[in-house]
């Protein structure tokens, strides 16, 4: 009888945290230090990365996805130091959805996800099954053989989520995954997020506080390249009082915690 579980998936974990950063520095462009001395430790679960525009969320996610090399500090992903020359084994276990991801317009959804599975070195025999599963999980099974250019913005984003989960990653990085999704799709996405967060370390960058409240077990609040707050959504809600601006307890907590950070461009 074939083994239903691979040896790698039952191997004991030898790292304490899926993501561990100490004094992490990451540059965006030549001069700006977008992540500036970040200390962070994240384990399994869905983590919502919140922060104002320009806080450095995208730069942080790109560094976690091993697209950008940290300019300083320590970054350990799944127990492997990132920025290390041999990233191949680590990259096989990462799923990444960039904020604005480019795709090949003439590919069908299935071809696109298949191609990404090939790039992620999913074993050849498993590619068709893995692709079908990923496409079904994001609800695109009926559109699987349509070309990418015929899809709406929300469907393209879901195709992007499908390519991110096609290799069953241990570390899943989603940059603004809910942008362009309609309310029903966002609800479905939150369910998927909760499901994935059970055995995966998921980092979701967003500026929608309600997404975090509904789907994430943990909130990371990030401003000016530094960690402002890390805790559960309830902790975030408890930080705010009635005197802080916002329409929900979470929004009030969010404004309370960000009150002290600098707003270089003035308050908007």
């Amino acid at each position: 009888m074939p083994r239903a579980v691979s040896a790698a998936s039952v191997a004991p974990k030898t790292h304490a945290w899926e993501i561990r950063a100490e004094g992490l520095l990451v540059r965006a462009g030549r001069k700006k230090m977008a992540v500036n001395g970040l200390d962070l430790a994240l384990g399994t679960g869905a983590h919502g990365l919140l922060g104002p525009n320009g806080a450095g969320k995208t730069t942080l996610i790109r560094a976690l996805a091993t697209v950008l090399r940290p300019a300083g500090g320590e970054l350990e992903l799944l127990g492997t130091p990132a920025g290390h020359a041999e990233l191949r084994a680590l990259r096989r276990r990462i799923g990444y959805l960039p904020q604005d991801f480019g795709y090949y317009r003439r590919f069908t959804v299935r071809e696109f996800v298949e191609y990404m599975a090939w790039l992620k070195e999913v074993p050849k025999a498993e590619i068709p099954g893995a692709v079908q599963r990923a496409v079904e999980r994001v609800g695109l099974a009926d559109r699987a053989d349509h070309r990418m250019k015929t899809l709406s913005g929300g469907m393209v984003r879901r195709a992007g989520i499908a390519q991110a989960i096609v290799n069953d990653p241990d570390l899943l990085l989603l940059d603004e995954p809910t942008a362009g999704l309609d309310p029903a799709q966002r609800l479905r996405f939150r369910e998927l997020l909760q499901e994935l967060g059970r055995d995966t370390c998921v980092v979701v960058s967003t500026h929608l506080v309600e997404d975090v409240a509904a789907a994430c077990s943990d909130v990371v609040l990030f401003a000016d390249g530094r960690l402002v707050f890390q805790g559960t959504p309830d902790d975030l809600a408890a930080a705010g009082g009635p005197e802080h601006p916002g329409d929900s307890p979470l929004e009030r907590g969010y404004s309370a915690l960000l009150r002290h950070t600098e707003q270089p461009g003035g308050i908007w």
Binding site: R27, A63, A65, T66, V67, L68, R69, A71, A82, G83, A85, E86, L87, R88, A89, R91, R92, I94, Y96, P98, F101, G102, Y103, Y104, R106, F107, E111, E114, Y115, M116, W118, L119, K120, E121, K124, I127, P128, Q163
Partner: protein
């Protein structure tokens, strides 16, 4: 499966259901039935007589499912992953077409009479050494590949993928240049093939530091300023393309290839 088979009495008890059989016996019998066709046959023939309600249930299920089963078509056989994207960068087609258009343009210029006052150098010879380089750069440059951000985070990103894409780009451009050269008869393959390969490897080597796109642009600019423009003005065969310069090109090719090999890890590394 095994030489031993279930007795008719055991199968009868199983058919009647209820608590006649202990659970472990039921379990063992079902495991045996899964792998033993003769015993399944025995069970099937015993069902209508011994348990008419079971037979009726099975028949009604079959009758209800029948229309759906007829309507269901087997899923189309999935063709294996196309080889094409594994080699050529999926976004490279327009750039390759542009390269081919440049060849055709040069060919047209060539046949429509001498473009320079002296009429000694084919325009084809001036674009041939840098055209494969442009095609190779188009296959990798971040600005031209829309999915570059996605590709950069995958394990396959790195020198092997870069070389595959470069090879595919060269395979598309070089034969066209060869054919064009043969058509005009003015351009010996040795005159431009080695320089073009030398340029390509040099671009890949420099690309490990500054990015392949930028390296290619710089090399094309140098070629245009140092070789193509003077030739256009004077009409003499450029010094660097004379047959006696071939060892120099071979050396450049070897240097470029050695640098690419030495820096092979840099292509997969995250950008700073």
């Amino acid at each position: 499966m095994s030489a031993e088979h279930a007795s008719a009495g055991l199968i009868g008890a199983y058919l009647r259901g209820g608590s006649d059989l202990p659970a472990d016996t039921v379990w063992a019998l079902e495991a045996h039935l899964e792998g033993c066709a003769p015993c399944r046959g025995l069970l099937a023939t015993a069902v209508p007589a011994a348990a008419p309600d079971v037979a009726a249930l099975v028949d009604s299920v079959r009758a209800a499912l029948g229309p759906q089963l007829d309507a269901a078509r087997p899923a189309p056989v999935r063709r294996p992953l196309a080889w094409r994207p594994a080699w050529a960068a999926p976004a490279v087609v327009p750039w390759l077409l542009t390269a081919l258009a440049v060849v055709l343009l040069a060919l047209a210029l060539d046949s429509s009479g001498p473009p320079d006052p002296h009429g000694q150098v084919s325009p084809l010879l001036l674009v041939a050494p840098v055209l494969p380089l442009c095609a190779a750069a188009a296959a990798w440059a971040p600005g031209l590949d829309p999915a570059h951000e996605l590709t950069a985070a995958t394990p396959r990103s790195g020198l092997p993928l870069l070389l595959r894409r470069t090879a595919a780009a060269l395979a598309a451009v070089v034969p066209v240049l060869l054919a064009a050269g043969a058509l005009t008869g003015e351009m010996a393959a040795a005159q431009w093939l080695l320089p073009s390969l030398a340029f390509t490897t040099t671009a890949l080597a420099l690309g490990s530091v500054v990015g392949v796109g930028r390296a290619a642009a710089a090399l094309v600019a140098v070629w245009a300023a140092a070789v193509a423009a003077p030739v256009w003005a004077t009409g003499r065969l450029p010094f660097v393309l004379r047959p006696e310069q071939l060892p120099g090109w071979a050396l450049l090719f070897a240097l470029g290839a050695a640098t690419v090999f030495a820096r092979r890890r840099a292509y997969a590394a995250p950008r700073t």
